[in-house]
Amino acid sequence: MQKAMQPARVRARRTEILHVEDNTAEAELLRDALADFPELTLRTLVDGVEALAYLRRPDASVPCERPDLILLDLDLPRLDGRRVLAELKADPTLRMIPVIVLSGSSLEADLVLAYELGANAYVVKPAQLNQFRAVVRAICDFWCGAAASPVRRGAAGR
């Protein structure tokens, strides 16, 4: 029975990036920056509550239904990005998803706290548009390409 189920789950899957950002202008800028990555699926959610609800939806209980990478803003309505980060890293089924904090804040306190909470990287959004694009692409090249990921291994049908 389980064997019969397994192949259905193992479908050809696109790499999914979850972007949690309440500012739609920022979200669109990121979407634009990733326009050259057709193999990526970008999902944008606007607050921490939505993000956790999405990640904990019943059919996300298997790794391949989870995003490969989370790009997290810190200042979010309803549930702050720092709280979201803490929840993610305290959840045994979600903690392995790499989380990149993408923030406008260059404050050392934010930086230190993010790493303490288990962020995989903290990136201050560059002011210049082309630098921003370069950083976003570098993140995706690395975390969705070069870096090995248990999520993607699961997707490969181990």
């Binding site: 202008a25 210049q128 082309n130």
Partner: protein
């Protein structure tokens, strides 16, 4: 017959075989005579001296033998003022109205050496035999009155101090009730003296005074401590608090038991209010520092974010729609991007200024030669191809916040390049000299250039925030750089100033105190 007459009679009886036969010994009078506490002279009815006791011999400075048989005038003169008084045998102003009654009168005593003293005499007639005898008691009135006067004066002085003192005085019973209180204390707490005397000391103390402050008073009242000073609070009759310094001292009775407590209270309410205002001020300062941190966060994040959006989309539009809009639209988009960039720089500089006081990391020995070299390398790289040269003198190692010191040199050297003369190679020099100023050593650094210089009329203003002497287009910059330098140098305990003249270059100088790590 009263007791004194009996005593006098006995005295007369024991005066000796020469005067009266069969005189017995003993009794109170004998003890009186023997004790020598009173000077006694015994005279007969003709006022001839029969004898004197030891006290009288000491008082008059002669022996009984020398004056026996002489008239009383040899020892005493009547005082003119007493003329109307009772007479003693016609010669003295003491006349017993009946046998045994003691009359008193002032007189003048004549000592054996001829000196005189004011005296008071008391006379008792002795009903012994047929002839009258008198016992004359003599007191040195001078001694008594001087002592009395001194006592009175001392009491009055105390009374005066007690009453007129600006310090609140109170005498407090060991059970806490007031025995007396002066006007100052009454005014301090708003009660009349009579009202206060109906209260206890504890009742005018503030109920919230910690037990530690009320307890010592209890210890003093219980006789465990003899003196105590403390700060305490009284409650004024109208309810407000009066801060006082209390000096509490215990007075013991002759047997050593606690008798009462002397309390001195000095009103220190104005001082306390000043202290509280100061504490309030400090708290406000702390709050304003916290607000500054809040501002720093807002500036770094919340203000940058919308700017980023504007700038990014302006760039995006310029990029995607270039050529599809006209040249003017392209130029306007350029203004938008430039304006936003400038705004971003302003915010970054303001943030840097706000964070000078709260910078993380401590002071450490810092080699200024290394700091200057590193700063210059970075600046030189930013101004590629510029004809500029930096020379340095011997630069010391100082105790400073390394990153902040670097920022100072960065801003000063950066300014020197920014305000260079066009078409003239920039020549910069950094030097340092150790000086001693009012007893403490300090390093004075000089950053000199050969640039356009400045009018000394602006020498103060350029260190203030947003004070710039040049239009944007000529010299980029936010006008915060020198304000940051000033704040950093002052945080290090130094001073910063400029010496210059238009067209002659400028010398920015700042000091750092030489200190142990």
């Amino acid at each position: 017959m009263d007791n004194l007459t009996k005593l006098a009679g006995r005295a007369a009886r024991r005066l000796g075989p020469r005067t009266r036969p069969g005189v017995g010994a003993g009794g109170p009078l004998r003890r009186l005579v023997a004790s020598g506490s009173e000077a006694l002279v015994v005279v007969d009815g003709a006022l001839r001296i029969a004898t004197l006791n030891g006290a009288a011999e000491r008082l008059f400075g002669l022996t009984a033998a020398r004056v026996r048989g002489a008239r009383l005038e040899r020892l005493l003169e009547r005082e003119p003022a007493a003329a109307g008084g009772p007479a003693l045998g016609g010669a003295f102003a003491v006349r017993p109205r009946e046998p045994g009654a003691l009359g008193r009168a002032p007189a003048v005593g004549l000592r054996g050496d001829g000196s005189r003293f004011p005296a008071e005499i008391g006379v008792a007639e002795l009903a012994v035999g047929r002839r009258p005898w008198y016992v004359v008691l003599v007191r040195d009135r001078g001694e008594a009155s001087w002592a009395e006067a001194a006592l009175r004066e001392s009491q009055e002085r105390f009374r005066g101090v007690f009453e007129a003192s600006a310090i609140g005085f109170a005498l407090v019973e060991t059970d806490g009730r007031f025995r007396a209180a002066n006007r100052s204390l009454c005014e301090m707490v708003g009660y009349g003296e009579a009202e206060l005397l109906g209260l206890t000391f504890q009742q005018i103390m503030h109920p919230d005074d910690p037990a530690a402050e009320r307890a010592p008073l209890g210890h003093v009242l219980a006789g465990e401590l003899d003196r105590y000073h403390l700060e305490a609070r009284f409650v004024h009759k109208r309810g407000h608090v009066v801060w006082v310094v209390l000096a509490i001292s215990l007075v013991r009775d002759a047997g050593g038991a606690p008798a009462y407590v002397v309390v001195q209270a000095t009103d220190i309410t104005p001082r306390k209010e000043a202290e509280q205002a100061l504490a309030l001020h400090a708290a406000e300062l702390e709050r304003s520092n916290a607000e500054l941190q809040e501002f720093a966060y807002v500036a770094s994040h919340d203000l940058q974010e919308p700017l980023r959006t504007v700038a990014s989309y302006a760039e995006l539009v310029a990029e995607r729609y270039r050529g599809r809009l006209d040249a003017r639209a392209d130029r306007w988009l350029g203004y938008m991007v430039a304006g936003v960039q400038r705004m971003r720089q302003l915010i970054a500089d303001l943030l840097a200024l706000a964070q000078v006081r709260t910078a993380e990391g401590g002071f450490a020995p810092t080699d200024t030669a290394v700091v200057v070299a590193r700063t210059w390398d970075r600046l030189y790289a930013q101004h590629a191809g510029m004809d500029a040269e930096l020379t340095t003198g011997a630069l010391p190692t100082v105790v400073a916040h390394p990153a902040q010191l670097e920022q100072v040199f960065q801003n000063l050297l950066g300014n020197a390049l920014k305000y260079r003369r066009p078409d003239v190679p920039a020549r910069l020099r950094v030097s340092a000299a150790r000086t001693v100023r009012s007893g403490s050593a300090e390093w004075e650094f000089t950053v000199r250039d050969n640039g356009i210089g400045l009018d000394m009329a602006y020498a103060e203003r350029i260190f203030q925030i947003f004070q710039r002497l040049h239009r944007d287009d000529d010299h980029e910059g936010t006008g915060i750089g020198l304000a940051i330098c000033k704040r950093i140098v002052e945080r290090h305990g130094g001073r910063i100033w400029v010496e210059s003249a238009p067209g002659e270059g400028a010398a920015f100088r700042f000091t750092l105190p030489e200190r142990e790590r």
